[in-house]
């Protein structure tokens, strides 16, 4: 199997919508039309080399600043305090950093939602999972997590060896995988092993000796804990001769990653991951081989590789369409985009993402988020289905209350109960008016088609459509009622419609 180019004239709005989901975070039908209007090449170039917006700021947002007092001074001060006070101060510091990382999650979500460089953010998310580090337990500072995030953004489209060279200088990673403490003579193998197993080659392409030898080469790649900057500790580095993947020399970390990226297993391992992420699950070996060949041909640079993939017929083939399970980030941001609403003030997004299993800056382990079908289990699926409801109400899933008529505490009517906990007033009616579309949404069928188009950009079965139309014709008492834009229950009905579209198996896929 090989990649063949898609004839440019076949690039239409549904295909542009598909591209927008995979290379970004979805959008409305109008967004897809805009992208389609650029033509196939224009759309791909817009994604790969966006001329809009300057790169992100290089000074940290307020929430990612280091504490003013550096680590050494803080520790000295801690030591000078009596026991009880010391613990209190340490807890306070931890709480501050916890608050900062929560704010940083919001900062990134805002950026993903509003960016005009969606692929750059999507790749930043890809690298965050591929080169996974977690705030929890060892790092516990927002600043290095932000720095790592900016690093991923800067090298998002770049060459693999450059990415690895940046990675072995990333303070968050070096602390997370214990390399910051690795010393000549008794190296710590944690980072060296994962560097090959999870970040570049995959199990089976290196020996235990290669782990030990590369760990020696990486000794001294450390961190200044006061500034959280990379520091090469010459005294801790083992300058001796190493035999790594069959090559002998007095290798350092840079040599190791160069040897790794030239290994044929690296291009296969990485392209398999790219195809899983962008194309379809379990890509077959011949396709991976072909992709790896292309990746090597473009010197392991991601931008030209993706240009090839996004221009291929395979990428838009029936097999690829709706073949991937949306990650929680894509699911939730896609919903916000389709609803044309900003991130709610409440912790709805952050709590929902945590519950759906994609807590930003807290990947579950060094393997990142497994993705695909692993996004789905009984804990998270109904959170995903209910997300529309949380969003419509602007309520965090943690604070959402079930209405239960049997409970003595809830003598109130369902309407009062639901309205009382609604903190966001998403008014579809006002929105439609602002878009000047009210005349086009005057029958239930038109309304269903409009929202299906904005949320899915692909049609639903006639049976599902019939059900949704019937729902729009159901009145508050369960009887039949006519439907028109002017009805004062328009908002209520559309909210129910949108929640059901999002509660379908269809909506879980893109």
């Amino acid at each position: 199997m090989a990649f063949s180019p898609l004839p440019a004239q076949e690039f239409d709005t549904p295909k542009a919508a598909h591209l927008l989901w995979r290379a970004g975070f979805g959008g409305t039908w109008a967004d897809a039309e805009e992208l389609a209007g650029r033509g196939l090449d224009g759309a791909i170039e817009w994604l790969l080399a966006p001329a809009v917006e300057k790169p992100g700021p290089l000074s940290p947002p307020e929430c990612a600043k280091l504490p003013e007092e550096d680590e050494a001074a803080f520790r000295a001060r801690l030591r000078s305090l009596p026991d009880g006070v010391r613990q209190k101060l340490a807890n306070e510091r931890r709480r501050e950093e916890n608050n900062k990382i929560e704010a940083l999650k919001r900062w990134w979500l805002e950026r993903m939602l509003t960016t005009r460089r969606p692929l750059e953010e999507k790749l930043t998310l890809f690298w965050h999972s591929h080169f996974a580090s977690s705030f929890a337990e060892k790092i516990e500072h927002a600043y290095p997590m932000w720095r790592q995030n900016e690093r991923f953004r800067r090298f998002a489209f770049g060459k693999f060896p450059d990415q690895l060279k940046a990675l072995i200088r990333d303070p968050a990673m070096l602390v997370w995988l214990d390399n910051a403490q690795s010393r000549s003579g008794r190296p710590n193998e944690n980072f060296a092993r994962e560097l090959m197993e999870l970040f570049s080659l995959g199990v089976g392409h290196y020996s235990e000796t290669d782990v030990k030898e590369s760990a020696r080469a990486l000794t001294g790649f450390g961190v200044d804990r006061d500034t959280w900057k990379f520091a090469f500790h010459k005294d801790a580095h083992d300058p001796g001769e190493k035999v790594f993947l069959g090559n002998t020399g007095d290798w350092t970390g840079d040599d190791i990653v160069q040897i790794i990226s030239e290994h044929p297993a690296a291009s296969r391992f990485m392209t398999r991951k790219f195809l899983e992420f962008f194309l379809w699950p379990n890509p077959e070996t011949p396709l991976v081989e072909e992709a790896a060949r292309i990746y090597r041909e473009v010197d392991l640079a991601l931008a030209p590789f993706l240009r090839h993939l996004f221009a291929s017929r395979e990428f838009y083939s029936p097999r690829a369409l709706a073949a991937t399970v949306k990650s929680p980030v894509v699911l939730t941001l896609g919903a916000l985009k389709s609803m044309r609403v900003p991130i709610p003030e409440s912790s709805t997004m952050i709590d929902a993402l945590r519950l759906m299993g994609q807590d930003l800056f807290f990947p579950p382990d060094v393997n990142g988020w497994p993705g695909g079908m692993a996004w789905i289990n009984s804990n998270v699926l109904l959170i995903r289905y209910n997300f529309g409801n949380f969003l419509i109400n602007g309520v965090s899933p943690d604070d959402f209350q079930m209405y239960d008529s049997k409970q003595p505490a809830q003598k109130q009517t369902r309407r009062t109960f639901i309205e009382k906990q609604r903190s966001v007033n998403w008014s579809p009616k006002a929105q439609i008016k602002a878009l000047g579309l009210e005349r086009k949404l005057n029958s239930p069928g038109e309304a269903v088609d409009f929202y299906v188009r904005d949320f899915l950009q692909r049609p639903i079965s006639p049976e599902f459509r019939r059900q949704l139309v019937a729902l729009l014709e159901t009145d508050a008492a369960g009887g039949r009622k006519s439907f028109s834009f002017d009805d004062n229950t328009f908002d209520e009905r559309i909210r129910g419609l949108v929640h059901l579209i999002m509660s379908s198996p269809d909506y879980q896929l893109c």
């Binding site: 709005t13 549904p14 039908w29 337990e137 214990d178 403490q181 690795s182 003579g185 008794r186 710590n188 092993r193 197993e197 999870l198 199990v203 235990e208 029936p318 369409l321 709706a322 073949a323 382990d365 060094v366 789905i376 289990n377 009984s378 804990n379 699926l381 289905y385 209910n386 899933p397 959402f400 209350q401 079930m402 239960d404 409970q407 505490a409 369902r414 309407r415 639901i418 038109e446 088609d449 188009r453 899915l456 950009q457 692909r458 049609p459 079965s461 599902f464 059900q467 019937a470 159901t474 508050a476 369960g478 209520e492 129910g496 929640h499 059901l500 379908s504 198996p505 269809d506 879980q508």
Partner: protein, 438 residues
């Protein structure tokens, strides 16, 4: 009577071990029937698997405290004297295992030394996969417990009367549970096992639920996007298949399993009482929930809990002790709780980790990935004590302990003696069961 209604309140209350939950008035009727039909076999044996994730340091858990080679290999982190719980002249338990010492003395705690498998893998993920699938020499995606589920419910409705649904506590489904029939549940918070209609009147909510049921009823193939369709607003869309039928079916089964089990689980966790004090930890919470489900005769024979953090590459003495302390107090509480509910005789706990750690410490006061390590069994029916000789520190393989007992011999004992199943079929090979169960 007090009702807890939001997740936040549920989590707060269940951590205190006093959760009381309200049942939803809006569980779709066809699902409620399924849940009600699942009857429990009150005498069936129950297996609880505890995964110690990250690679537990066996040598500092079950300590060869008189072996000079141990102290030589670990000049700064070897444990000596201080509070070690001496078992015999060669072996002592880490002081943090104190809450379990009584279980050991009563013969309800078995330690199987030096477990592992040929050509040990030192990757967390590959090693975990080997322990989960029980297969180390060929590709296998289903788990050993998943294959057990499949063997139990072949031909029957997997969610029916036999109640062979495995329940895994926590946010993710372990690979051990992966199976053909898609029957396992992962359970973190049963409050999430329901669909909330958004309609502002009961009538509207009911209409929405009816559509939701149709959309998510297993076996239905219709609502997924068809191959090609004429759409007035999108033009003709050809060849859009909206995902494979298997994916849709998996989604529908998963939703239905959760909703069907949700009411029952909420009720049991709500009215059930823990009769022991669990530590305020994730593992404590998971085991306290399992205890309530077992005491309430929830029809499940296999539960799965896990504790993370055992990947102690640096500064491990303190962190390892804290992990073992949490594990010991949680397990001791769990067993006392079950005894108090007169359920202990039908529960067996199996604890494992994906590997032990390197015999020699590294330069960061920690240990890197190793190989063989002890497994633990707890319960009234185990043959307590130490099984197998002390670790052989003279005869290492690449600096790691060699295994003496294949971990699948322990699985085989559990399958044959406890779950009364042909282990060869489930394990895809013949492993002679170790003699650890009465």
């Amino acid at each position: 009577m007090q009702y807890f209604q939001t997740r936040r309140e549920f989590l707060a209350s269940s951590l205190k071990g006093a959760g009381l939950l309200a049942a939803s008035a809006f569980v779709p009727a066809f699902l409620a029937r399924t849940a009600a039909a699942a009857g429990a076999d009150k005498d069936a044996t129950v297996l609880v698997v505890l995964q110690l994730s990250g690679g537990n340091d066996g040598l500092n858990t079950v300590v060869p405290f008189t072996d000079d080679l141990y102290f030589k290999a670990r000049p700064t982190i070897a444990l000596n004297g201080n509070g070690l719980l001496k078992i015999n002249d060669q072996i002592a338990l880490n002081a943090a295992l104190k809450p379990l010492k009584n279980e050991f003395d009563q013969g309800r705690f078995a330690i199987i030394q030096n477990t592992g498998y040929p050509n040990p893998n030192r990757s967390h993920f590959r090693a975990m996969e080997i322990w989960h699938t029980g297969v180390n020499d060929q590709l296998e995606t289903n788990g050993w417990l998943g294959r057990y589920f499949d063997a139990q419910c072949s031909g029957a409705d997997p969610r029916g009367q036999q109640g062979e649904i495995g329940v895994s506590l926590g946010k993710v489904m372990p690979q051990s549970f992966r199976n053909r029939s898609n029957v396992a549940l992962s359970l973190d918070d049963p409050e999430t096992f329901q669909w909330n209609a958004s309609g502002e009147t009961v009538a509207l909510a009911k209409a929405q639920e009816a559509i939701f049921e149709k959309l998510n009823k297993p076996g239905m193939t219709a609502p997924m996007t068809p191959l090609a369709i004429e759409s007035k607003t999108m033009g003709t869309l050809g060849g859009i298949n909206g995902g494979s039928p298997e994916t849709a079916d998996f989604l529908r089964h998963t939703a239905m399993n959760a909703i069907a089990a949700g009411d029952r689980i909420r009720a049991l966790l709500g009215k059930g009482k823990n009769r022991a004090e669990y530590p305020y930890s994730r593992l404590g919470r998971e085991l306290s929930m399992i205890s309530k489900l077992i005491a309430g005769d929830f029809p499940t024979r296999v539960y799965y809990a896990s504790q993370g953090g055992f990947d102690t590459h640096a500064g491990q003495v303190g962190s390892h002790a804290r992990l073992l302390d949490d594990m010991s107090r949680s397990l001791a509480a769990f067993m006392a709780d079950l005894r108090s509910h007169k359920a202990s005789q039908r529960v067996l706990v199996l604890a494992f980790s994906e590997f032990g750690r390197r015999v020699a410490e590294n330069g960061s006061g920690g240990t890197d990935h190793g190989a063989a390590a002890p497994m633990f069994l707890f319960g009234d029916s185990v043959k307590g004590g130490i099984h197998g000789g002390p670790p052989d520190l003279k005869n290492l393989l690449d600096g790691d302990l060699r295994h003496q007992t294949d971990f699948r011999q322990v699985y085989a004992a559990v399958l044959e003696k406890w779950l009364k199943t042909d282990s060869a079929k489930v394990l895809k090979g013949n492993y002679s069961p170790v003699d650890v169960l009465a």
